[in-house]
């Protein structure tokens, strides 16, 4: 009765391949799971470290504006506000510039220029944040103090009031903008460049100008991708630590103006953790870490939901 030798060999190989497939799939699942597990472990460890503060302040911690380690008073709101303000400022500055650069490079510049600047832009993203922080401290802050802030203070807007000191939330936002700009630009360039040529031609053929092609063809088609790039940039800005710690001024007061000094969740943890004055102080810093973790998770989940709705 016989299956011939080659046939049997083929069968054996088929079986081997199937085992390979299963192995591969299991390995991928394991990797995927381990990412989720790592996140869970980090959250659990932080929660354990934060336990004393969690027990003492509970959820009110998030809404409290007091941060006074010597008096055992701890609240996250000043840093939460600092984080949100600096990140929002960074996006407000980086988005128009990055998107504008991407559109210019993709739709208007000659292909040669596009190829030429692409690599340098990606290199910029690799500058260590401590270097950007140094630039912020020694180059940006003096300019902010002597030129930019006096001008802004004259607008009379409450959010731009105060004495120009150079370092502070405003400078931190600019530093963050500089840090997210290269990534935002190169991602946007990818997204805009991926829009089907047939879409552009369809509009040109109807008698659209170049600007109309961008506005009615390229941008709508690139919308969800651009949104994704923005969420990534925002995620980076929220968590950036070193460069912000160097220029934000590090004060625990509730910020009432962008010109004020302040801190972000990430910067205050970096600044105070090694010098925590008490176990409760350390626990409160860990709880700030939990708040930051929640904020970034919320951002990526919220971003994904919004994206799903916009794509339909």
């Amino acid at each position: 009765m016989g299956t011939s030798l080659p046939a049997r060999r083929r069968l054996a190989r088929r079986r081997l391949e199937r085992t390979g497939d299963t192995l591969y799939r299991d390995a991928l699942a394991a990797f995927g799971m381990s990412v989720a597990a790592a996140l869970g472990i980090v959250a659990a460890e932080s929660a354990k470290l934060a336990a004393p503060a969690l027990r003492r302040f509970g959820i009110a911690f998030v809404g409290s504006t007091q941060w006074d380690p010597t008096a055992d008073r701890f609240g996250a709101l000043p840093f939460l506000a600092g984080t949100v303000l600096t990140s929002a400022e960074a996006l407000a500055l980086a988005l128009p510039v990055g998107l504008g650069a991407a559109i210019f490079l993709s739709e208007m510049a000659p292909a040669r220029l596009r190829a030429m600047v692409r690599f340098p832009i990606e290199m910029l993203a690799a500058i260590p944040s401590v270097i950007v922080g140094l630039w912020g401290l020694f180059v940006l802050a003096p300019i902010m103090r002597t030129r930019v802030e006096p001008l802004l203070a004259r607008t009379g807007l409450p959010i731009l009031s105060g004495t120009p000191v150079g370092v502070g939330l405003l400078a931190a936002g600019v530093v963050l903008a500089v840090m997210v700009l290269p990534t935002l630009t190169s991602l946007s360039l990818d997204v805009v460049g991926a829009v089907d040529r047939a879409q552009r031609e369809g509009l040109y053929a109807l008698g659209a100008t170049r600007w109309e092609v961008i506005r009615r063809g390229v941008l709508p088609a690139a919308k969800s991708g651009l949104f994704g790039a923005t969420v990534l940039a925002l995620g980076r800005a929220l968590g950036e630590t070193m460069a912000v710690a160097m220029v934000v001024g590090n004060s625990p007061d509730m910020p009432h103006s962008l010109l004020a000094t302040g801190g972000t969740l990430a910067s205050v943890i970096a600044n105070e953790f090694t010098e925590a004055v008490s176990d409760l102080h350390e626990a409160a810093l860990a709880e700030l870490g939990l708040v930051l973790l929640a904020l970034t998770l919320l951002l990526s989940i919220g971003g994904r939901l919004l994206l799903r709705r916009s794509v339909r």
């Binding site: 000659p110 292909a111 089907d196 047939a198 879409q199 031609e201 369809g202 509009l203 040109y204 053929a205 109807l206 008698g207 659209a208 100008t209 109309e212 009615r216 063809g217 709508p220 088609a221 919308k223």
Partner: protein, 255 residues
């Protein structure tokens, strides 16, 4: 070659290419008004390039260049103060692969050209309906104008693109292998449509399908390696070609 009786588009000594490459060499021909002219020839012979020179789409490509003259009703389309955008409003185009705008509804797709000029709502709706009727699509989509254009079949999408081009009421419609991505039934519908449309405007249709050229056109131009080999009444070109290369091509000796 007998000259067309009522020429509307004139092409004189037209050469075009990309960089140091010549895709079209010294082409001259006059295209008849309210007729269908077919452009045939093997792949890469310059059919699309010729078509795209007529509505100044060619110059959008990287390194593209054009020499020579193209006229529409006597107007020099490459004149010094002629805006390519205006040319494209007078000469519409339909592409090989249906390219409806994916984020727009069926109605907004048809109105896309109108919206560039800003039409009042009522007139916009009327024009959309008229264009969809001209494109023989109205009966199929009248009850779902707000749905995404992507929900349509390939053949319907192509007729939507034809409606979109018709909505701005061009004088000439260029079609670049408009049925080559469609199944036989959808192809037949597009051919039927081309027949009906010639009362309304002038059609120039690129095809690599000789039977199709024979079915739809009154005149046919045969291009080979960037040169116009022969241009004549379709019947004459297919049954009694004057050039050896035309004969070889239409009898299927190469292609």
């Amino acid at each position: 070659m007998t000259a067309p009786s009522r020429p509307v588009v004139g092409v004189a000594a037209l050469s075009a290419g990309f960089g140091d490459r010549t895709a079209l060499r010294d082409v001259s021909l006059a295209l008849e008004a309210h007729a269908v002219t077919a452009i045939i020839g093997p792949s890469g012979c310059g059919k699309s390039t010729l078509l795209r020179c007529l509505n100044r789409m060619h110059e959008l490509g990287a390194g593209a260049w054009v020499r020579g003259r193209v006229t529409l009703d006597g107007d020099d389309l490459y004149g010094p103060d002629v805006d390519a955008v205006q040319v494209r409003r007078r000469i519409g185009m339909v592409f090989q692969r249906p390219n409806p705008f994916p984020t727009l509804s069926i109605r907004d797709n048809v109105a896309a050209g109108l919206d560039l000029n800003g039409f009042a709502r009522a007139e916009r709706d009327d024009r959309v309906e008229a264009a969809l009727k001209q494109a023989a699509l109205w009966n199929e989509v009248a009850d779902r104008l707000n749905r995404s254009a992507l929900a349509l079949s390939g053949g319907q999408q192509q007729r939507l693109c034809i409606a979109r081009a018709l909505a701005v009421e061009p004088e000439v419609l260029l079609m670049d292998e408009p049925a080559s991505a469609l199944d036989p039934i959808a192809t037949a519908r597009v051919e039927e449509l081309i027949h009906e449309l010639k009362d309304r405007l002038t059609l120039i249709v690129v095809t690599h399908n000789m039977q199709q050229a024979a079915r739809i056109s009154t005149r046919t131009a045969f291009l080979y390696m960037g040169e116009l080999v022969e241009y004549d009444r379709t019947e004459a070109l297919f049954t009694n070609p004057k050039e050896r290369r035309t004969e070889d091509y239409v009898t299927g000796k190469f292609g």
